[in-house]
């Protein structure tokens, strides 16, 4: 069975641009969470979605938004990119909110 898949794997943007990252959960999983991992740090929680509804939000500005589709895949959008948004963005899926989260390989975003 396929694990969590994320696209693209790498992305280079310039300051002020907008970016969309995509995530497909493990088949049968209904919850998707997004994390930002800056070099040398542990992942930091951004959003959690369950059954297409936002269940939780971390301490990130409104420039960050997300949604979950009827097939349980998800998108993370970041507007008005800043240099500090450069990071590895990880998506994790679980059967439902509160279960073990399984991670994808992430999208490496570089903002120049």
């Amino acid at each position: 069975d396929a694990g969590v898949t994320q696209s693209p794997t790498h992305l280079i943007k310039t300051r002020g641009q907008h970016v969309t990252l995509r995530c497909s959960p493990i088949s049968g999983h209904k919850s998707v969470s997004w994390y930002q991992q800056v070099l040398g740090q542990g992942p930091q929680f951004i959003f959690q979605y369950y059954e297409k509804e936002e269940r939780g939000r971390g301490n990130f500005p409104d420039r960050f938004s997300a949604r979950q589709f009827p097939n349980y895949s998800s998108e993370l959008n970041v507007n008005a990119l800043l240099l500090g948004d450069s990071a590895l963005y990880l998506c994790a899926s679980s059967l439902m909110a509160g279960n073990i989260q399984y991670f994808g390989a992430g999208t490496r975003l570089s903002v120049l």
Binding site: G3, Y35, G42, Q44, G56, Q101, F103, A105, G106, R108
Partner: protein, 114 residues
């Protein structure tokens, strides 16, 4: 604010040694503690410990949750070069219907020398 602290931040040992990684936490409404191994990008799940399951073992890896001391350890015996990775500790808390996600520590960077 929920907090997870891991120690040491880095560790270099020789193949065959036994290592112990530490994780302490301060969270409101603790639900579970998880250990992940991160080699390149994707953290891979190792263990989940809860109030009803405080000890887990898989092969050379084992983990214990100390509910009184609010901490956990991850033990790796007979280490191999393939154990070289960053080991992440994360805690999940429940917050009245909402979801706070996992709170991670900074990780322990473990290097196994041949």
């Amino acid at each position: 604010e929920d907090k997870v602290v891991q120690s040491p931040l880095s560790l270099v040992v020789h193949e065959g040694d036994t290592v112990t990684l530490n994780c302490s936490y301060e969270v409101t409404n603790f639900r579970s503690l998880l250990w992940y191994k991160q080699e390149k990008k994707a953290p891979t799940f190792l263990f989940m410990l809860t109030s009803s399951g405080i000890e887990k073992k898989s092969g050379r890896l084992s983990s214990i949750l100390d509910k009184k001391e609010l901490s956990s350890i991850l033990n790796i015996t007979a280490t191999q070069t393939g154990d070289s990775a960053i080991y992440l500790c994360a805690v999940e808390a429940s917050s009245g219907g909402g979801a706070d996600g996992l709170t991670f520590g900074k990780g322990t960077h473990l290097i196994i020398q041949p």
